[in-house]
Amino acid sequence: MTEGPARSGKLRGNLPPLEFYVPEPRYRPGDTVDYSHLEIPEAGTAARPDEACEARETGPLTTGLIRVLDDGSQAVGPWNPNLDPETLRRILRMMALTRAFDDRMYRGQRQGKTSFYMKSTGEEAISVACAFALAEDDMVFPSYRQQGILISRGYPLVEMINQIYSNRADKLKGRQLPIMYSAKDYGFFTISGNLATQFPQAVGWAMASAIKGDTRIATSFIGEGSSAEGDFHAAMTFAAVYNAPVVLNVVNNQWAISSFSGFAGAERTTFAARAAGYGIAGLRVDGNDALAVYAAMEWAANRARANKGPTLIEHFTYRAEGHSTSDDPSAYRSAREAEEWPLGDPVMRLKNHLIALGEWSDAQHAEMDRALAEDVRAATKEAEKNGILGHGLHHPFHTMFEDVFEDLPWHLREQADQAIRERRTKWPEWKE
């Protein structure tokens, strides 16, 4: 007789066989959409604990939803940031500009001016309101859908378009996929195409700021899909261990290309709830409510700056369009989803709030949209003078070998010579 646990299945009795589970989204193309399962609390009902509170006090806020703008377009409750009308108009303007820019760049890609574009339609409140709630010199480690931050911080549209066109004026020398901006002077880290890598980097930047006794904090953004990466766990662990002055944002827009949020664990709990396991503060916020987003980021930024530690914020929103210009969402999700999204359109909600305050009008909004479209058109024309993708007006050829290292080692020098020979063979008249 052997000792120890039974080796056969005799303890299993008549149990049925194991079942493998694969999440499935509620709606596929052609389905009618019913969002009644979503718990959307009334605006103004979430409590606002002190910014210096114990992390565990934010527990209820990680499963609820912080909302400020109510159905009557009024700002209500303890999270109302009480912004003056002029600030509200500036936030609205930057959101509208982001949308106008996205629309123009999307069309530019369809016209063959560049290879690729990614819109942030429906998510403008998140990037723009966060930019307004942060200090200008706080460091942002963005994903690819925070163009609203760059725009809000006043980065020239022409520079963005030069990058998108990879033209001869592109500051990144035509090396990066369109929209992978880098703008150090604007506190905007170089965007990576590898997902979630920026999360632990933001924590490292924040650790460095604390090591140096600085006052600046860091923030980072990832999608709910890439919160599944190990980098998320690395970032949360380091942020918790070193009490890093960082605000970590998960933009839950429900879809990661064609994979719904269930493939990142959303069927089990909220993304904000993960904060509890690390012992850090967590907030879950209506991402289509610019005032709620502003209030949440302001709370977390103040907390970080007061040495009270990191915060995880889940921005609950909806990706209203495709993942990118290379994606067709009608192939995997119901078109009704975006239309019926219960949290509405962030631009319209802020616009209606300003109108309700008597600080804005439909006519003013239409005029603003017209002027912004004209600004974007003018910037586009200006950038096109520097060339569009594939039309020869790119960076000088030799720059391809620069910046691999600070200095050019012999093997790259030889490879550069080879590349130039190849070019001369193909185009004997070529000169640089």
Binding site: P200, G204, A208, K212, H233, E406, W410, H411
Partner: protein
């Protein structure tokens, strides 16, 4: 980076140090000179590292500059990238080279690519120190030599010292370098040179000239090989622990070989390699890492491309076998005196 002129090695007094002490000395000197240098890693703080390389540094420079990290290599390297973006000069330790794989995305896609993808806006002056190599009964997860993975990455430099003297000077150069550097420390020779005869008593660095380490600051430029000994019968290209094994084998066989310690794999001192092979006409490449797609393949290819008409025999490659590093049979894996000796004989007996 340093304001003062490097001390001339001929003038500086030397003292005998083992490789760990030499590395510790380099870190100490650089931390004293540059307040932006921080050290983090598993067990590097209060305890001073499992191999003691950071011993005493937390006490001297404080917890803000030398601190333990979670067991998460992705986080260690990822945080280092963020710290570098802030303007610091992190020198993280990965406890064993075998543990570096969870951090590869942060290293390959991020640290190595920052300068290029941001057109120089952001750089990653990070030196990742990591003990590597076998011969210490470390089993398959504490013995690997993964250097070829890193030499394959555009934007990374790979440095491997073979003596305490070189370890100090190369580490200082690596820390001063504005590009990310992988600094692999051959842990078998931390305490003394190793001639490959595992059944003989261990030696210490005391009697070895490479164990005499100058005091104070000095650096050895990355990309410059060291001629261990001159000779005319063949060129031996080697680095790390295998420098000493090769030296002992050729000494014992009485072969007048020229031994070149590469010291840096990227950038490689190809000039020194070519010059030597052109002189000797024969080339033996040795590394402890597995054979297929190892750095020896790159070396052999470069030598035949550039020195083919000087070669009098096929290039010989002596390496570890293409198996995981076995615990009980590690000496069967290790490219020891017998394997090297066979290759040397083949080269010596080759018809020219």
């Amino acid at each position: 980076m340093l304001e003062e002129e490097p001390v001339s090695l001929h003038d500086a007094p030397t003292r005998p140090l083992n490789m760990i002490e030499a590395i510790n000395d380099a870190l100490d000197i650089m931390m004293a000179h540059d307040p932006d240098i921080v050290i983090m890693g598993e067990d590097v703080g209060y305890f001073g590292g499992v191999f003691r390389a950071t011993a005493g540094l937390q006490g001297k420079y404080g917890k803000n500059r030398v601190f333990d990290s979670p067991i998460n290599e992705c986080g260690i390297i990822g945080a280092a990238v963020g710290m570098a973006a802030y303007g610091l000069r992190p020198v993280p330790e990965i406890q064993f080279a075998d543990y570096i794989y969870p951090g590869l995305d942060q290293l390959i896609s991020e640290a190595a690519r920052l300068r290029y993808r941001s057109a120089g806006e952001f750089i990653a002056p990070i030196t990742i120190r990591s003990p590597f190599g076998g011969g210490i009964f470390g089993g398959q997860t504490h013995s690997q030599s993964p250097e070829a993975l890193f030499t394959h990455v555009a934007g990374l430099k790979t440095v491997i010292p073979s003596t305490p003297h070189d370890a100090k000077g190369l580490l200082i150069a690596a820390i001063e370098d504005n590009d990310p550097v992988i600094f692999f420390e051959p842990k078998r020779i931390y305490n003394g040179p190793f001639d490959g005869n595992y059944d003989s008593p261990s030696k210490t660095w005391k009697a070895h000239p490479g164990g005499q380490v100058p005091e104070g600051y000095y650096s050895i430029p990355l990309g410059k090989a060291r001629t261990v000994r001159e000779g005319s019968a063949m060129t031996v290209l080697v680095y790390g622990t295998m420098v000493h094994v090769a030296e002992a084998v050729l000494e014992a066989k009485g072969v007048d070989a020229e031994i070149i310690d590469l010291r840096t794999l990227v950038p490689l001192d190809m000039e020194a390699v070519e010059k030597s092979v052109e002189k000797t006409g024969k080339c033996l490449v040795i590394h402890e890492a597995t054979r297929t797609s190892g750095f020896g393949a790159e070396l052999a290819s470069l030598v035949q491309e550039r020195c083919f008409y000087h070669l009098e025999a096929p290039i010989e490659r002596v390496t570890g076998f293409d198996t995981p590093y076995p615990h009980s049979l590690e000496w069967a894996y290790f490219p020891g005196p017998v394997r090297i000796g066979e290759a040397v004989d083949r080269l010596m007996n080759a018809d020219s």
